[in-house]
């Protein structure tokens, strides 16, 4: 289908609006100048600066670890919640549960962060890697649940019934039929959780402790002292990482749908 001129213009304007700032950021990350707004020629200087900045590297490693662990935990919990809500018997308070699962999506992060901080203080938990991870898990599992729930909702229930009819107990039916079919949604949920955790500043700053600074917290505190071009380089690396993850995920889901015969767990 050929785009009309009007659609083409709106499409281009929309894309420019979304991506121009990012493109500028990427270009300036290769700036040789010490001043963020003055172009001083191409250079990889700020990248090498970043790789020598131990504090920044430690923060990045921390962020990746938190993101990976919390995304995995959130995917597990969120998927279970979605399955319980769409497939379980019509238990009492199901609508309430459903609503409660969605509430954190619209809850201001300050409230989530503060309430978690109060909880951790109350139970006398030492704040650090685990408290941030738990906080991120509670936030992101709702997103996973929503993504997986919508996939489960659109999936034909009779597929699971057919599996049971053909000799699977409910658990095996889930593993052999439901899981392979919702796997793209589960993977998408994991990636969403991963990126949400990676860029979260508010909740992390409430729940972190000394010695476990995440990358956004580190960047934010640096920026308060003035923007260094090194930040641009870090951001470019993060954008690159996220792009890679998304491309890999879409390739993987394409591949799995093409060669389902061998990919099917039996």
């Amino acid at each position: 289908m050929k785009l009309s001129r009007f659609n083409l213009v709106t499409l281009i304007l929309g894309l420019v609006f979304l991506y121009l700032p990012i493109v500028i950021l990427v270009i300036y990350s290769f700036n040789a100048s010490r001043l963020v707004t003055v172009w001083g020629g191409w250079s990889l200087r700020w990248y090498s600066e970043f790789f020598r900045d131990d504090a920044m590297l430690a923060a990045a490693a921390m962020s990746l670890r938190v993101a990976a662990v919390s995304a995995t935990a959130a995917t597990l919990l969120g998927t279970l919640a979605a399955v319980a809500l769409t497939r379980g018997e019509n238990f009492r308070g199901r609508t309430l549960f459903s609503g409660m699962l969605y509430a954190p999506l619209v809850m201001p992060e300050v409230i989530t962060g503060l309430s978690l901080l109060l909880l951790f203080v109350a139970v006398n938990a030492e704040r650090g890697f685990w408290t941030v991870t738990i906080a991120h898990t509670t936030l992101t599992m709702c997103f996973v649940a929503v993504v997986v729930q919508s996939r489960l909702g659109s999936m034909d229930r009779s597929l699971e019934e057919a599996a049971m009819d053909l000799g699977c107990n409910p658990l095996r039916a889930f593993i052999a039929v439901t899981l392979p079919l919702i796997l793209p949604a589960v993977a998408a949920g994991w990636m969403l959780a991963f990126t949400l955790s990676l860029d979260d500043l508010v909740i992390a700053s409430f729940t972190t402790g000394p010695g476990s600074t995440t990358l956004p917290i580190r960047i934010y505190s640096e920026v308060r002292l003035g923007v260094k071009p090194e930040i641009n380089a870090i951001c470019t690396l993060i954008i690159g990482l996220i792009t890679l993850v998304i491309i890999a995920a879409s390739l993987a889901s394409k591949l799995s749908s093409r060669q389902g015969e061998s990919a099917a767990p039996l």
Binding site: E161, A162, D165, C168, R172, V177, P180, G260, E261
Partner: protein
């Protein structure tokens, strides 16, 4: 998990015992009673159809047989054993779903093998059974395809092969042909009948299409509002419906209401409200009321230009009702006429077009005599 897919050997003594007994089964959803206590026995090797309009509870009844719904009351016995507490995966029953429910991520072969792998049969046995099923439903060369690479008819056959692969004692088919076009449906109907005879399996099919039920089934159970209205062979169902509802649901019918005027042995004379006096064969069961209705199938109403001469040899009395033709629908094999009788009633008459030229055709506004034998009238309670 030990589930036994290999057929339970049928001991010779039980061959006449019904395979399946449904005993006053009730299923309620909230305040709505979907299945309201039907009882039914199904013999081994029978092709049984559950026929009814949508929402009559036939699919719910089928789902209870498969184990997806638990009855609130009543019993379901398979081989004399109550299977109420047996979960779907342990029943020697398989189901073919209305939308086929093929696993989209598995190939044709893996779909068919799915139930066999669950039964932990040896590899070679699985391979040979899959090959046998593929040949049975004529899908050779399609084994590696995915469901979305198949046509509707092919998908239907994969679903059938998958359900048959475990050699169930009872195969349940939920509207198996609803998604196929007319030509394909007719072919598939005879194919299903052939398979059922060949495998000697018991089939229960759910359908809302009465022609489909009549063509395929040995017996038909007509359901309405969760109850079984009548269980009979297709012929009995059509020629001797038990109620006005069944008469109207199965095939076309003319209904004339009236009051019983007199009874004389095997006949009764009925004063109808809008078609004059009609002589009808008395029903087998005595009527409780004098108010009745007469059901006459359209093809049993014959038309002629003048009243036919009284036939002394005819056992049955002939009813002759005069009227004018108000509508003609030519349908190829037959022509449907609408005749408004002088009494005001409108009768439908189907006349087989036995000659190519329209020498026998009637036209609108033509005066005709509509006549039918008393034996062709079924007297029912209104």
């Amino acid at each position: 998990m030990t589930d036994d897919v290999t057929q339970i050997p049928i001991d010779a003594g039980s061959i006449d015992a019904p395979l399946l007994q449904i005993d006053a089964v009730v299923k309620r959803f909230g305040g709505f009673t979907a299945v309201d206590g039907p009882s039914l026995e199904i013999r081994r090797g029978e092709f049984f159809a559950l026929l009814g309009p949508s929402g009559c509870g036939k699919t719910t009844l089928l789902r209870m047989l498969a184990g997806f719904e638990t009855p609130d009351a009543g019993r379901i016995l398979l081989n004399g054993r109550d299977i109420a507490g047996v979960p779907p995966h342990q029943r020697p029953v398989n189901m073919m779903f209305q939308n086929y429910a093929l696993f989209p991520h598995l190939s044709v072969r893996d779909n068919i093998a799915f139930g066999l792998k669950r039964a932990s049969l040896p590899r070679a046995e699985i391979a040979s059974r899959v090959a046998e099923m593929v040949a049975l439903v004529k899908l050779e060369g399609m084994e590696r395809r995915k469901p979305d690479q198949l046509s509707g008819g092919q998908r239907q056959r994969v679903a059938l092969a998958r359900a048959l692969a475990r050699r169930p004692q009872l195969l349940l088919l939920d509207e198996p042909l609803a998604a196929l076009d007319k030509k394909l449906r007719e072919n598939t109907q005879s194919e299903l009948m052939r398979l059922q005879r060949q495998l000697g399996m018991t089939f229960i099919i759910v359908t809302h299409d009465q022609e489909e039920a009549m063509m395929m089934a040995d017996r038909i159970g007509v359901m309405e509002s969760g109850r079984l209205e009548q269980v009979a062979t297709p012929r009995q169902l059509y020629e001797a419906p038990k109620s006005r509802w069944v008469a109207e649901f199965v095939g076309g019918v003319n209904i004339i209401e009236g009051d019983v005027e007199s009874r004389d042995g095997g006949r009764m004379i009925i004063a109808t409200h809008d078609a004059g006096q009609v002589t009808a064969a008395a029903p087998a069961q005595p009527l409780t009321k004098d108010r009745v209705c007469i059901a006459i199938r359209p093809e049993k109403v014959r038309l002629s230009r003048r009243a036919p001469a009284p036939d002394a040899d005819h056992r049955a009395a002939i009813n002759r009702l005069e009227g004018i033709v108000t509508g003609v629908s030519y349908l190829g094999g037959q022509t449907d006429y609408q005749v408004r009788l002088d009494g005001g009633a409108v009768l439908r008459a189907s006349v087989a077009n036995t000659a190519r030229l329209d020498v026998d055709a009637y036209h609108v506004t033509q005066r005709v005599v509509a006549w039918f034998a008393s034996d062709d009238c079924v007297v029912l309670e209104p």
